[in-house]
Amino acid sequence: MKVNGKILESYMPMTVEGLVLGAGYMLDRVAVELNGRIVPRSEYPRILLKDDDSVEIVGFVGGG
């Protein structure tokens, strides 16, 4: 799958929550888009990712 533009190989089934926590993000500091659609936080544990998924994980940074 693609995560923030980079290819990520995963050999085990992984949920959105597994991906986010596994990469070291804090759950309450990111928003996740799966194939262009926002995933509500409550659904992170339920959604299993597939090989052809594209995931964006975003957060706030300083900006004017």
């Binding site: 500091r29 990111v30 888009e33 509500p40 994980i57 957060g59 940074v61 300083g62 900006g63 004017g64």
Partner: protein, 257 residues
């Protein structure tokens, strides 16, 4: 009666909106506190894994966060960024910023009107950043904008109120708060904007590129307050020619001869 800035459903005592870009994270709190700021803008970007050094940990509690849609090149991208920002859980305010031109970084008013309509319909409090143009601003107001943010000069230029006359027209003709955003480089320019009736001033680079950053934040705070007070006080008239004595004209040296 308190002189409050009202944007959508929220009320503010400060009229200084501060961008949080270009500062070191460690300086963020001092700058916001020195500026007496109640609204700070943020950008949305791909998150760094590890979650270290998150800007939210450095912004004082109680501030209203105003995410921008920087990076968007059209209405669709701006809407996407705004929705992600709301999902991050910091309220429903958004500053729409749509830029196609990478040299001068000027905003695209047409796309901004479209994004304003979509996001206002979705319940966002929408503050569009725009080229100061009265008819575009009217369209944004009709589309549901809660405030209009015309630029004073290109982003990050510190050139000041180059568009002053056009911003004044918008202040005179529109009922929404007009907030100068971008280009303001000096406290005197922020003061001038407030004196002519702007509802607030937004700045970032002017402070971030100053020699003493926290002190410049304070200078802006005082200038914006002074300008606001001057506006409320209604500045005195300007004589077209000649002078007018401030002291009584009755002489007394002649009388004692």
């Amino acid at each position: 009666m308190a002189d409050e800035l009202i944007i959508g459903k929220k009320r503010f005592n400060s009229r200084f909106i501060l961008g949080s870009g270009k500062f070191s994270l460690d300086m963020t709190r001092a700058v916001m506190e020195n500026g007496g700021v109640e609204i700070a803008t943020l950008a949305v970007r791909r998150a760094n894994a590890g979650g270290e050094g998150n800007i939210l940990d450095y912004i004082p509690e109680g501030l209203t966060l105003l995410p921008n849609t920087s990076g968007a090149r059209n209405a669709e991208e701006a809407v996407r960024i705004a929705r992600l920002a709301r999902e991050l859980g910091c309220g429903d305010m958004v500053k729409i910023e749509i830029i196609r031109d990478s040299r001068y970084l000027l905003p695209d008013n047409c796309e901004t009107i479209k994004a304003t309509r979509v996001l206002a319909d979705e319940g966002f409090t929408v503050m569009p950043y725009m080229m100061p143009d009265l008819s575009a601003a009217r369209s944004m107001a009709d589309a549901g904008a809660a405030a209009i943010m015309p630029l004073g000069a290109p982003i990050g230029s510190n050139k000041g109120l180059l568009t002053k006359d056009f911003i004044k027209i918008m202040i005179d003709e529109l009922d929404l708060p007009i907030i100068v955003d971008a280009g303001i480089g000096r406290p005197s320019q922020a003061c001038e904007a407030m004196e002519m009736g702007c509802a607030a001033v937004m700045a970032n680079t002017a402070i971030a590129t100053a020699g003493d950053i926290p002190m410049m934040a304070k200078a802006f705070k005082l200038a914006i307050e002074a300008g606001r007070m001057a506006f409320i006080s209604r500045p005195g008239r300007v004589l077209l020619k000649g002078g007018e004595s401030s002291s009584p004209l009755t002489g007394f040296l002649e009388d004692s001869k």
